[in-house]
Amino acid sequence: MNKAVILVIDDEAQIRKLLEIALQSNDYTVNQASNAKDGVILAANHPPDMIILDLGLPDEDGHSVLKKLREWYTNPIIILSVQSDEEDIIKALDNGANDYLVKPFRTGELLARIRSTLRTALSEEANPVINCKDLQIDLAARTIKKKNELVKLTATEYHLLTLFVKNEGKVLTHHYLLREVWGPGFINQSQYLRVFIAQLRKKIENDPNRPEFIVTESGVGYRFVNGE
């Protein structure tokens, strides 16, 4: 089996070392760059399966590096940042990042994100039937089953759920969801999103107050988690 290649672009040698150990011991091949320029060149010469990009690079603003990479690079990009500012995170996600982690982070959390991001990226020609624990979603037949019982969703709820399922593991921002489901005129009407997320959770979660599938990313958006 081919090892997935991950390129780490971070100026902090300690973080690179930490990631190298953590990733290699989990059977990934690690390439490293300590600044934006080297990172972009390395990515072009040896296109990796995934890039882990730090936003605070010495030679260029991380957001512009991300935009530059996204002009041609289509594999997943995970953002690392010391900025826990929500606006910064939302900007990165809107610029095409697949996921983000705020430093300090737990390596276990990072590895879980890497696994789910790579899995979503590899299964592009998606199977129309998706099983998550006791939840079964059939995109072809447009049916949802919870514990083998048919769940009735409204058109909006169904639309929301399919967006989540197709982007499993990826954080979907409030603006993205509002634009996709309700249209560009609704991106500031977050009350709709709140209401429909709550309703959807009531129908598909075992305990809507402690959701397993639709997880809140505070201040940023929501993420669909396929319970591993």
Binding site: A155, T156, H174, Q191, R194, V195, A198, T216, S218
Partner: protein, 359 residues
């Protein structure tokens, strides 16, 4: 007596000075018929003295000159001339002028001295606050750093002598210390955000239910020994407020409760909404707070007398800062039979869209 610092604009001060002297002269003019012109001099002197308590030196000097002139022109016989007939009147006019001047200058000087004393006191307070910060900081940051350095040293140098249990324990200590360090830095960042004065709530619609459960989940991940129960009316509307700030408020209060109450204490989180006010109550049946210290707990760097180590005295002041940044309040009281209750009230727009039929 409190001396005003004179925040009034200088041009306005001249107008005030002029008007009041004229007014006093007018009163003097009315009573001069039966009280004599010497009484008028006293009235004018008192007026100048009073003015010197509130105005800057230049407008007061104006009052002194103007009143001397008015007294001479309108009251010293022969009236309505600047002439002074008798030597006695000339002496009196001169003395009047000197008294008015000395009066003005002396009062002004007293105010200057007071101002300097006040500035010095403010500076002392800042230094005191700064020292408290440094003490608290160096302790709170150095303790976990020492733990990390010590534990890694032991792991590196005495590796052969350590049992697997020892090693596991040391790694656990490093992990705990880093967590604590991270939390202290987070508190400091929050505090400096508040102190900068640039903090503006970013209001958006919040599902209070979702928010509270999320925060409680985060707190419970710290392996707490207390039991947290949540009580929220399912019909609570959406509130438009700053999600991040509210999360921080609830997190800090719960974190405080879990750190300073004994194991098996019951902590309740209650959220209610009424008439555009969100009320959140966090109460426990722990030991409560000493009554005489309740008024201080929200002060920056304040720590209860005899409090255990660990904590910067910032958590609750951040709670207060964020609540106030959103236009709200926080208060603390002891409850019966025992325990403490924090009540947060935040005014915010509500939306009952939730109860609409959806499609």
């Amino acid at each position: 007596m409190k001396f005003s610092t004179g925040n009034i604009k200088v041009s306005v001060q001249y107008i005030i000075s002029f008007t009041i002297v004229c007014l006093a002269a007018f009163i003097g003019y009315i009573i001069s018929d039966f009280a004599g012109y010497k009484v008028v001099a006293y009235i004018l002197l008192v007026t100048v003295s009073l003015l010197s308590m509130f105005l800057d030196i230049a407008p007061v000097l104006l009052a002194a000159f103007l009143s001397a002139l008015i007294w001479d022109f309108f009251f010293i016989p022969p009236r309505f001339t600047l002439q002074v007939k008798t030597t006695e009147d000339a002496l009196m006019l001169m003395m009047y002028f000197i008294i008015a001047l000395v009066n003005a200058v002396l009062t002004y000087k007293i105010r200057q001295v007071q101002k300097i004393a006040r500035e010095k006191e403010e500076k002392n307070n800042t230094v005191k606050l700064y020292n408290t910060l440094l003490n608290s900081l160096s302790h709170e940051l150095r303790t976990p750093i020492s733990t990390i350095i010590g534990a890694t040293d032991t792991l590196q140098n005495n590796s052969a002598k350590l049992t697997p249990e020892n090693r596991f324990e040391l790694i656990g200590e490093i992990s705990k210390a880093s967590f604590r360090l991270n939390q202290q830095v987070g508190n400091l960042l929050n505090m400096s955000r508040l102190e900068s004065g640039f903090i503006e709530p970013k209001n958006d619609w919040c599902d209070i239910n979702e928010l509270v459960y999320d925060v409680v989940k985060t707190v419970e991940e710290n392996k707490i020994t207390q039991k947290i129960s949540i009580n929220i009316n399912p019909e609570i509307p959406l509130f438009k407020l700053d999600e991040g700030m509210l999360e921080q408020i609830i997190y800090n209060l719960l974190n405080n409760a879990t750190q300073y109450t004994p194991a098996d204490t019951k902590i309740d989180v209650i959220a209610m909404g009424y008439a555009d006010v969100l009320q959140i109550i966090i109460e426990d049946n722990g030991n409560g707070f000493p009554e005489d210290e309740i008024k201080n707990v929200f002060h920056k760097f304040y720590r209860l007398k005899g409090a255990q180590a660990g904590g910067t005295g910032l958590g609750l002041s951040i709670v207060k800062g964020y609540a106030e940044a959103m236009g709200g309040t926080v208060r603390l009281e002891n409850i019966r039979p025992k325990g403490a209750r924090f009540t947060i009230e935040i005014p915010a727009k509500t939306s009952y869209l939730k109860n609409l039929k959806n499609e």
